[in-house]
Symmetry: C2
Subunit: 254 residues, 2 copies
DNA sequence: GGTAGTGGTTGATCCATATCAATTTTGGTC
DNA sequence: GACCAAAATTGATATGGATCAACCACTACC
């Protein structure tokens, strides 16, 4: 999944010309195209988008894509691997605010204030397409379907944030964990990958922080779901055995 | 605050020509202009925006602006009064997902799927400017600063949603209530109103649902804050006596 | 002005999850 | 393959807020 690119540019954060890293990949032949921005664009428009997208930028585990407080310049489409966003607290400690998988856009947190409100790091070896936001908005003015597409993607971020909020305010620990597993499964499936087998790229601590529960509770809940036969668990490998049962669990009243 | 408009159009949901209700108000002389979309537009652009905005639509307490599941057609700028958005659960019960005050945009939940994911009702006598979304996006293509402004407003919705999520996952009941009071105060202040005195337009049940705590806990926390002298409380009237102390409370580690 | 309904407060008890603590497993490195 | 740090699991205890219950305040309506 993450092994088809060299790593020559690790740590290099500005790429003078596009495609230094993997010159053959363009938006039009990217297999994520239908998840990412290019959907609904015709081939000429995709080429226009292509000219502003900066590829490459492979990151290793723990490498930072952008930092809380940094000036907002670009949004990033995840190409491979995965990322987490998190916020630091004044008194120490942090809160994971989101996980980002291939085809998803990270960095929208900076649009409103032109400053990133969260930090984002790679959870494994990962790569992104950097989309300079100013040039992107200019292009959006010329391509109505691109503007429309991006409005929709931002809208999606809003509604999914609200879903997480619902999860956090009314659901039990068990329901939260189940909901996360289902969400990861669904997002896997969108990429034509197995809906039932997945590898958690994040630690239990990340999961707990994201779901507002402790590591211990995450661990206990996973053990319980495993004992009940709803999932099979081997470290970070998860197999969802009873998808429907998990869904019902999430739907139940808390 | 909500008494300077007649109520002749209550219940009328389509307004053939703009300004039937209060013909004298336009975006350019609206005192909310600097909070709402028109900011950063020149006078010609504001007039263009004006032509697509449909005013009027005063709603009484409990009147629905749009319903969960309804087709998404427009976003709404709150002109006066206040609204709550909420989601219904399958097994009964509901979850308040947001409160909207004058100058704020409600309805963005429908942008991604073209279907509203929440219902929105007036918490008191209120009025909105209806902005048909299709025409709005078309206009945005012609007015870069309008597109930019709206990207920013959506970005703001995303970051504020994330703030609420942080609140819900790591803060105590006391901190949640304090944070809501501060948020309402800040939003009051933006409208050049008192930062220290405000009237809660929502019930304790709404507050509890929004913050993920029970009515009883809301009540107890408010009583406690009142006893501690941080606020004064008379029914729904709140006076914030020690703004800084409240802020420190929110910042504290849970 | 009595009554019903809605919203709000306060008290007593209980439980889901946090916290504290100990142990095991894993992965990386010399 | 021994050692170490980080991650994960499991158990025992503590607690914040939910739940259950009783009561009060206000408004509306006959």
């Amino acid at each position: 999944m993450t092994d088809d690119r060299s790593t020559e540019l690790i740590g290099t954060y500005s790429i003078p010309q596009r495609c230094q890293h993997n010159p053959t990949v363009t938006c039009s032949d990217c297999r994520l195209g239908e998840l990412c921005l290019p959907i609904a664009l015709d081939s000429i428009e995709i080429n226009q988008l292509d000219t502003i997208v900066q590829r490459g930028k492979p990151l290793q585990i723990g490498d930072e894509l952008f930092h809380e407080g940094a000036t907002f310049n670009a949004i990033y489409a995840v190409r491979s691997g995965s990322f987490k966003s998190y916020k630091l607290f004044a008194g120490g400690g942090s809160q994971v605010t989101g996980f980002y998988l291939p085809g998803e856009i990270v960095g929208m947190d900076g649009i409103s204030s032109l400053t990133h409100t969260v930090s984002t790091v790679a959870l494994e070896t990962s790569s992104v397409c950097e989309i300079p936001f100013k040039r992107f908005t200019e292009l959006s003015l010329k391509i109505p379907s691109l503007q429309n597409r991006f409005f929709r993607m931002m809208g999606k971020e809003i509604t999914s944030d609200q879903q997480v909020r619902t999860l956090l305010s009314v659901k039990t620990a068990e329901q939260r964990v189940a909901a996360l597993l289902l969400s990861l499964s669904t997002r896997h499936q969108r990429r034509k990958l197995s809906a039932t087998r997945l590898r958690l790229p994040m630690t239990r601590a990340d999961i707990g922080s994201y779901l507002g529960i402790t590591i211990e509770t995450v661990s206990r809940v996973l053990s319980k779901l495993s004992k009940q036969g709803l999932i099979k668990l081997d470290q970070r490998e998860v197999e969802i055995c009873k998808f429907n049962a998990l869904q019902e669990l999430v739907m139940e009243k808390p």
